[in-house]
């Protein structure tokens, strides 16, 4: 009875649902399976019986803590420098803007190991800037936790920039124009109008950026090396565990996956869904 009583509007919605074309549904389903199956593989193959004792191994927590800290710091760096850069690319006409935009995406296409070598050539002990840093301040970045953060930020920043630039381009610029006509300067417009307008875009970009930083392997091991407690993040621990002990590698992967999915799901509810 209730179904028919409230059925006045829903039928149209239901009809809409039925009209999902198979041509879209089939590839969507296959795509989903393709993404989920490897995860199922990990779960099936996980050594559930020895899981508790593996979880409490001291090195595991150290690596996990280091991973979370470094990914978070790298994301903060990316937001601090990436948001202004995205704004510049989206809002300011300047010569060579296309080239700059292409250059920004270089870390996306560069194999991370090459990125790590490139970082060494700049920030390394014999690097373009690194040599000066070493002789002037006695600072060397490779093999330090700071090095891990830098490597992760280098690889992850494009994700943030692309997301934020997309949000800026999609945002209605009339609000900014209105603010300007009311006498707001560019800085005030940016902080009071633009930023709140694209906040969901920044959040989405930051989440992508954090996820990429958390999984970073190639640039990190090349630039920052691998030493427990200072530079060994979870992906590095997983890789080395894979050399001798597949089960340990699976456990480490599952921990990293669980923690990151939990954090991302938590953030998603709070920050991103804004319909």
């Amino acid at each position: 009875m209730t179904a028919t009583a409230t059925g006045a509007t829903p039928p149209r919605r239901r009809a809409g649902r039925q009209r999902v074309p198979v041509a879209l549904l089939a590839p969507a389903g296959l795509g989903l399976l393709f993404l989920i199956f490897p995860l199922v593989g990990l779960l099936v193959r996980a050594p559930w019986t020895t899981l508790p004792q593996r979880l409490t191994e001291p090195g595991v927590l150290t690596a996990l803590r280091l991973s979370l800290q470094c990914a978070t710091l790298a994301t903060l760096l990316c937001v601090a420098f990436g948001v202004p850069l995205a704004w510049l690319l989206a809002r300011v006409e300047f010569p060579g803007r296309r080239l700059v935009r292409a250059l920004v995406t270089v870390p996306l296409v560069l194999p991370p190991v090459v990125g790590g070598v490139a970082l060494l050539l700049v920030f390394g002990r014999r690097g373009l800037l690194g040599e000066w840093l070493d002789s002037t301040f006695g600072v060397t970045l490779p093999f330090t936790t700071t090095g891990v953060v830098l490597a992760e930020a280098f690889v992850a920043m494009p994700f943030l920039i692309i997301a934020v630039e997309g949000a800026l381009r999609g945002a209605d610029s009339r609000y900014e124009e209105a603010a300007a006509t009311l006498g707001a300067g560019r800085w005030t417009t940016f902080t009071h109008v633009t930023l709140p307008l694209v906040a969901p875009g920044i959040a989405a970009g930051a989440v992508l950026c954090w996820a990429r930083a958390l999984g970073e392997f190639g640039a990190t091991i090349t630039f920052a090396g691998n030493y427990p407690g200072t530079t060994q993040t979870m992906p590095l621990a997983v890789y080395l565990a894979l050399e001798t002990d597949l089960d340990a590698a699976i456990v480490l992967s599952l921990i990293l996956l669980t923690v990151s999915v939990a954090i991302l799901a938590g953030l998603r509810d709070r920050w991103i869904t804004s319909p």
Binding site: Y227, P235, L240, S253
Partner: protein
């Protein structure tokens, strides 16, 4: 981590393609019987070999093809443990040459080998230092001096296990700045000048002779790495595999290997 999984997937795919492109092994099978009677070997031979064998095996592969017209040797060079995993997961390879007995054991324990593995070369550790040896490193004890940055391989990989043996034998307690995932990683840190020394194999130091020097040290005698080779049970081209292994063990094969710094077993 994503990158690692993609890497693994790509490696697995490459392995599959390598052998898929390997043409049909069937034509070789009838001749296999002939080959055992001293006849010719043909077809594609897929060799999974440790990364440290890259230079020498490429030479051996070319020589083998010249000596056996109609054959084509395809290599898959990677870390021995990754190769062992690929083989156990069904990658159709003909020959496996490992940089450590432990990785060979992974394959033979899974009954993936034909007969027993043969040790074909040995490799010894040296201290790799930048050309000119700026920190005047003469032995393991020098590596503990303040201001000397050292890269080692992680204990999970063969060069790291050997390094630990050598350091223990010398009773040298060393804190490296990094534990690299493979020997080439440790070596590249020396090449780039990021560390002052690294423990690597003699062959690796020799291959990088343009900017690296190898310092020999006595304790390396207690940490010699043996390289075993085997014909795989599921080899698509068994006759070819046997001929290739025989060639590696022959004088010609051995001289190609010693030329790159390996020692005869």
């Amino acid at each position: 981590m994503t990158a690692r999984w993609i890497g693994a997937a790509v490696a697995a795919l490459t392995a599959l393609t390598l052998t898929a492109c390997g043409g049909d092994p069937d034509p070789a099978t009838p001749q296999a019987a002939a080959a055992s009677g001293g006849g010719t070997v043909t077809g594609d031979i897929t060799v999974f070999a440790a990364a440290s064998l890259t230079e020498s095996f490429k030479t051996i592969g070319k020589d083998f093809e010249t000596a056996n017209p109609g054959t084509k040797v395809t290599f898959n060079f990677a870390g021995s443990s990754a190769l062992a995993t690929q083989i156990n997961q069904g990658a159709p390879a003909d020959v496996f040459a490992s940089a450590a007995p432990a990785n060979m054991k992974t394959v033979t324990d899974a009954r993936g080998g034909e007969g027993t593995a043969t040790t074909f070369v040995k490799n010894q550790l040296v201290i790799a230092v930048p050309k000119g040896n700026p920190k005047a490193v003469k032995g393991l004890a020098d590596l503990t001096r303040p201001g000397v940055k050292v890269a080692l391989c992680a204990e999970q990989v063969p060069c790291g296990a050997e390094a630990k043996k050598a350091l223990d034998a010398a009773q040298v307690k060393l804190t490296p700045v990094t534990l690299e995932q493979d020997v080439k990683g440790a070596l590249s840190k020396v090449k780039l000048g990021e560390v002052d020394a690294a423990l690597v194999y003699r062959t690796d130091a020799k291959a990088a002779a343009a900017n690296v020097e190898g310092v020999e040290f006595p304790e390396s005698a207690g940490a010699i790495n043996e390289y075993p080779i085997i014909v795989l049970k599921k080899a698509p081209n068994k006759a070819g595999a046997q001929a290739f292994v025989a060639y590696v063990l022959s004088d010609k094969g051995r001289s190609a290997l010693t030329a790159t710094g390996f020692q005869a077993p």
